[in-house]
Structure formats: C-alpha cells, structure tokens
C-alpha cells in the first residue's frame, strides 16, 4: 500500500469497528479527499460518517469537539497543515485543555489529520511543518509517520486514543519514499518496492510514544521523523558513516528512553527536521539529549533544519534540508575528539 492507501485502510478499519468514528473535513466525503485519503468511505458509510464540511477550520474543530463530548470519535481532516491556524484557538484553548480544566469530567477524543511538509513545490502555504507549535501545547499528542505500515498502525492508535492527537502526514511521501533532491532530481521510489509498504489489511496498532530504529550504528545518533527519515537514511548511506537512525514517530509523548539509549551508545547526535530552526521541535530534542546524556556527549549536538524563513517556491531545494547538509553535519560532529 501507499501511505494514502494505508491511511485510508486505517479509516476503513476503525469505522467498521466503531459506529462512533466518523471523518469530517473539506472535500473528504463525496469526493474522497484532495489526496484521496478518505476515498470510498462516503460510498460505504454514507454522508453522515464521511462528512463534507464548510471551509471553516475553526468551525470544523469546534464541531468535532462538541461531537466528541457527545460520545463520537471524530477524525478531522485539515486539508493542509498550513491551513490549521484558523482552528488554533479551538485546538489549543479547548481541545487540549478540556479534560484538565473540567477536572476530568469532559474530554473529546478527536484526531486531527493534516498533510504537512515540503518538497512538492508547494510554496509558502502548502509546505509548512507546524508540529512544533503543537508539541508546545500541553494536552495534545503529536504524531508524524514516515511510511505506510506505521501510518496505518499509528492512525488507528490515534483514533482509538481518548486524548486528542495531532496526526501530521508528510504529503511528499504519500506515494513513495523521498530521498532528497540531491539524487535523481528529487525523484522518489514507490512504496510497493519498500518493505514498510507491506501493510496488513486488518486492524493493528503501533503504540504512540515509541520510536523505531531504522538503522543501527555506533558513531552518531540521528533523530528524524517524517520525510526526513528517508533523506537522512540516504545521506547516511552515501556518507559511509556508521550512524544510528531513529524515526521518532511520536513527538509527544517522546520516546526519550530510546533516544537516550542511542546517544549514550554513540556519544554524538544530529537532529533533523524540515520545520524552521528557531524554537522548532529540534530545540526540544537538543535540550532533552543534553540533559539526559550530558556526560556521554563527545560533541555538540547538531541541528539540520529548514531555514528561519517562510517556505519559498523557487528556492525549494536550497531550503529543504539536503543530504549534503546532513552529511556535513555528521562530519562536523565526528570531527570532535
């Protein structure tokens, strides 16, 4: 399965199992979604459960909260993560805080899916990676899968979780892994050729808060998620450096045990994300690694991120973290003795 098909499969599985699950968002019903993630749900479950909505992100999330309070389990689609901001008051002030502020009396088990990330010539408003905004909000879980197998298992976990989950889907890898623009002019492979494109038809879960080791290594730990997992893997391969690559999968809760175990082993760490650098999620990773692994560190922790600029159109490949920048960072951190 592609990542789109895996996400679609997760929605089919959860909707078949629980009549309280419904999907809602712009173009998700009759049309099946602009990325086809909700295809077939309308035909199978009807207009009530594959619910087309007005173009009002704040209204969509608010309605989902009310539905969640009334016993439903809404899976909301924000068409692009770049367009989540009109809903941010409902997400931060309401969805994230409801259980706590009500002393545990009320909660809303809402999952918010949003295609994120760049590498698709999406310019300023179709390329953003706003995960760091949401990991800063107490009460939200934040998840970003990097492959079809994880996408399905993590999405099922998110939908079945009674806490609100921000589920960001890197649209660059919806149809195949992407290794960066450095080789083949940005071309990508197919998920059908990839082991993690083998996705069971039925129900399975991948727990939130558990990282995956993509590649074991001894020299340096690389922390990445989403599209950058694949770019990092290719950069590591090209560099010949024996790096250990972790796909975080869940940013919050963070699998700090796995991260710390790896860095204590390697003594070095490089953090990679597409999002802008300053106050990005990478800063939290750097801080956590520094606090938990200080006496094991043999070099300053490196960050390879998007620049602190809005996402550009023409300069996409100068902006998007490249294999070359990753290799440079790996070599810099290894230069310390």
């Amino acid at each position: 399965m592609s990542m789109v098909q895996a996400i679609n499969s997760a929605l089919h599985c959860t909707m078949a199992a629980d009549p309280a699950v419904l999907v809602m968002g712009e173009d998700v019903g009759f049309f099946g979604g602009v990325f086809r993630c909700t295809e077939g749900l309308y035909e199978k479950y009807g207009a009530h459960r594959a619910l087309d909505t007005p173009i009002a992100e704040g209204g969509i999330v608010a309605a989902a909260i009310g539905m969640g309070v009334n016993g439903l389990r809404p899976v909301v689609e924000m068409q692009f993560a770049d367009y989540i901001y009109p809903a941010i008051d409902q997400i931060i002030s309401e969805l994230a805080r409801l259980r706590h502020r009500s002393g545990g009396e009320f909660f809303a088990p809402v999952t918010i899916r949003a295609p994120c990330g760049g590498g698709i010539r999406g310019g300023q408003t179709h390329s953003q990676s706003p995960e760091g905004i949401f990991t800063h909000v107490c009460g939200l879980k934040t998840v970003i899968p990097s492959n079809p197998y994880d996408a399905k298992g993590l999405l099922i976990s998110a939908i079945e979780d009674d806490d609100p989950v921000m589920f960001f889907e890197p649209k660059r890898i919806y149809n195949g892994p992407f290794h960066g623009h450095d080789n083949n002019g940005g071309g990508s492979g197919s998920w059908s050729d990839h082991p993690l494109g083998q996705v069971p038809i039925g129900h399975y879960r991948i727990p939130l808060g558990k990282a995956a080791t993509i590649r074991a290594g001894r020299q340096v730990t690389v922390l990445a998620y989403g599209t950058m997992v694949h770019v990092a893997a290719e950069a590591i391969r090209a560099s010949g450096i024996d790096a250990e690559l972790l796909d975080l999968r869940s940013l919050l809760p963070l699998d700090i045990e796995a991260v710390a175990a790896s860095v204590r082993k390697t003594g070095r760490c490089v953090v990679i994300h597409e999002a802008t650098r300053t106050s990005g999620y990478g800063a939290e990773l750097v801080a956590e690694v520094q606090e938990t692994c200080f006496w094991h560190l043999r070099a300053p922790i490196e960050r390879v991120t998007g620049w602190d600029t809005p996402y550009p159109h023409a300069f996409e490949w100068e902006y998007f973290p490249s294999q070359r920048r990753i290799v440079d960072a790996l070599q810099r951190t290894l230069a310390y003795h």
Binding site: L22, H48, T53, P54, A56, G58, G59, A62, A63, A64, I65, G66, M67, G68, V69, N70, G71, L72, P86, D89, Q90, S93, E94, R97, L98, R99, H100, R101, S102, G103, G104, E105, F106, F107, C138, G139, K141, D161, D162, D163, G209, P253, L254, I256, E257
Partner: protein, 428 residues
Amino acid sequence: MPKTGGNKPVEARGHADATGTWVSKLHVPTGSSRPGEKPDFRALNLVSDDAMFRPAPDCETREAEPLAHGLVRVLDDEGTAGGPWLPELSDEHLLQGLRHMVHVRAYDERMFRMQRQGQLSFYIKSTGEEAVAVAQGMALDSGDMLFPAYRQQGLLFVRGRDVVDMMCHCISNARDNCKGRQMPVFYTWKDGNFFSISGNLATQFSQAVGWAMASAYKGEEHIAATWVGDGSTAEADVHNAMLFAATYRAPVILNIVNNQWAISTPQSFAAGGTTFAARALGYNIPGIRVDGNDFLAVHAVTDWAARRARRGFGPTVIELVTYRVAGHSTSDNPDAYRAHNESEAWPLGDPVARLKQHLIGRDLWSEPQQQALETELKEAISRDWKQALSYGSLEDGPHWPVATMFDDVFQHLPAHLLRQRQQLEEKE
C-alpha cells in the same frame, strides 16, 4: 404588548466636505451613555409591533423574519401578561422561576462581597440578567446539553446544582470539582449536562452545534443550547456556529445575550446598527428578539425554539435584550465608561421586579411573601457559604493535593509529566 422606549433616532449616514461632496468618513459607534451623560436607549428600537405573531415551530426563516427586528414581550410595563407569545405555565412554575431568580441574586450579592473581602480572587455577577438563564433553563429538558458563557449561573440553580459545590469551586478548595484549576465562575458539571466553561470567548458556541450534530447523528431527541454575549458575537466562532447549525440543521438554540456592554465597549461595536437576531437571517435561521427581562417571554421563545429543534426543524437564534446592571466583573469599574447608575434608565426594568409584579397582580404573591423569600434565600446562602468554607478556603486550604495538577492533562500520566511531578515533590 410593546410599550416602552422611544423612536429610533435618525443618524447621519455620510459626511459632506467643504465643497458639499459626500465622502467616506470613519464611523466609530457610541454607547447608550458615557460618564456624565444622560442614558439614551432609543437606538435599540424597543418599540415595535413586528413581533405580535407566533409562527409554527416548523416555519421557514422568512415567515419569522419580522421577529428578528421586533421585540417579543408578554409582560407589559404594568406586569400584565398577554399577546400571542403568552406561555401556558402553571402558577407553581412561575413561582419557582421567581424563587430561582431571587436565589441567583442572593448568591451573586454574597459572592461579590466575599471577593471584596479577599476570600475569592474574582467573581462575575449576572444582576439584571437572571431571567435569561432561569427562564431558558426551565424551558429545556434535563437531557439537553448546556454550553454556557460565564454569566448564566442561573442555569445551575435551575438544574439543582448544590450551591455549596458552586462555592467550593469558586474558592478552589478540596471539594472543588475542577480540582483548583479554574478561576472562579468557570463551572463544570457533567452530571447536570452543564459544559465546562472556558475563558476563551464564544468557543462554546460552535462546540454546542457539534454536540447537537452528534445528537442528530445518533437519532436522539436531546438538543443543545448555548449562550454568548453581544460583544463576543464578533468572534469567528459565532459565524462558524450559525453556518454549521444552518448547514446541518442542527438541533441547537443559539442564544445571544445582548446586555448592552462588553466590558467597556457598547453593543453597537458588534451589532453594526442592526439587531443580533437579524444576523441569523443571512444563515437562513429564524432569529427572534425577545425582552430578556420578561420571564414569560423568554420562556415562551425558548420553548418554541426547543420544540423546533427537537422535532428536527433546525436551529434558532434568540437575541435576549437585557442590561448588565453590575460591572463586568469584580475587576471592573463601570463608572469609568458609562453613566453612573445607567441601569436605572433601562427601559425593560428588572426581571425579578417584573415577574413579582405580575404574580402580585394575579394574587399569587405578595410583598410580604417576597420579603420572606429574599430573607430565606439570603440566609440559605449564608449557611452554604459557611459550609463551603468548612471544606477549605482559597488562601489557607485545604486544596487538592498539588500533585493532582499533573492529572487529566492526558487520560494517563505520561512519563514526562511523571518526571515533572517527581521534581516538584522532591523540592517540597
């Protein structure tokens, strides 16, 4: 029934320059008064016969359109009830309504004084608006879900919330069901179908629509009702609520409590020269403007909207025209932005006095009985306050154990919060 106020004043609509050419001019609205001025409520257009009809609950929006510009009244200025909206309410129901309103007022008075004595950090009174929450609460079923703003404490009295529990919340003691996390008046009561109040304005308005959508999705007969103030109608959530309610014909009542003031800002900054009820028409929702200080009219209109919603005919917007007699909150000084005692000039009077007058006029009630009721409830509030303090005060406690601060952020305590809780406990 309408018999109050005056005619709508003519306003200049443009601006002529020196050559006599009309040019645009930035219009900045004003309020009913500023300090030192004489209150003038004529712009509200409180006199109208437009609302002298009662459509069927399954009416089309256009049939009800005049109701959005008129003012539904049942009680006239002398306390006599009549007209097409006269509700069929038992004497007991009306007397119970009066009792609830007097109870709310006694509660507000006591809590306000306790804030001034430093025993509460904050308080918000609903003085002058008691009929809104009490009559509307009494017109709904207990299974209907309430999404209030922070000035509908009367709903809790109607639903039978223990006053001691309300007070315990306001002083964040060991019996506070919000576990000391919320400022006073941000009540939560799941068993009473009373949604958790948020400080962020209007967010509940569109959430109520979602709750109602779920009710319809499940085929249940429960409806949702929600409240927002005149000022908060400016928030995008109010647009979202009306649009979603109309799109999905959600069984919801969208109440706009027009108490004339949003802290210091007059209602004209959000109304744009029209009524709030008229906002509904563009969404194809019936909008009804009602005398918010007329218990019978508020009850009748709410009952109409509830029947409409329950039978699947869709949402209703109700504008409740009332007046915020007290300051916005204990942190506010209304004399700094409106005429001193402006409320005395309010044409729609006082909701308690008007229902009392009506009941006395029908020989169901008397001044001595009113005095006795006020004394009884004042004493009851005093007893409740003493009992609430026995569970702990804001300053001295006991409070919830401090470690519970980390609970309920998530359903289960994640590792990072467990570590932070341990750090806090190590320090102590």
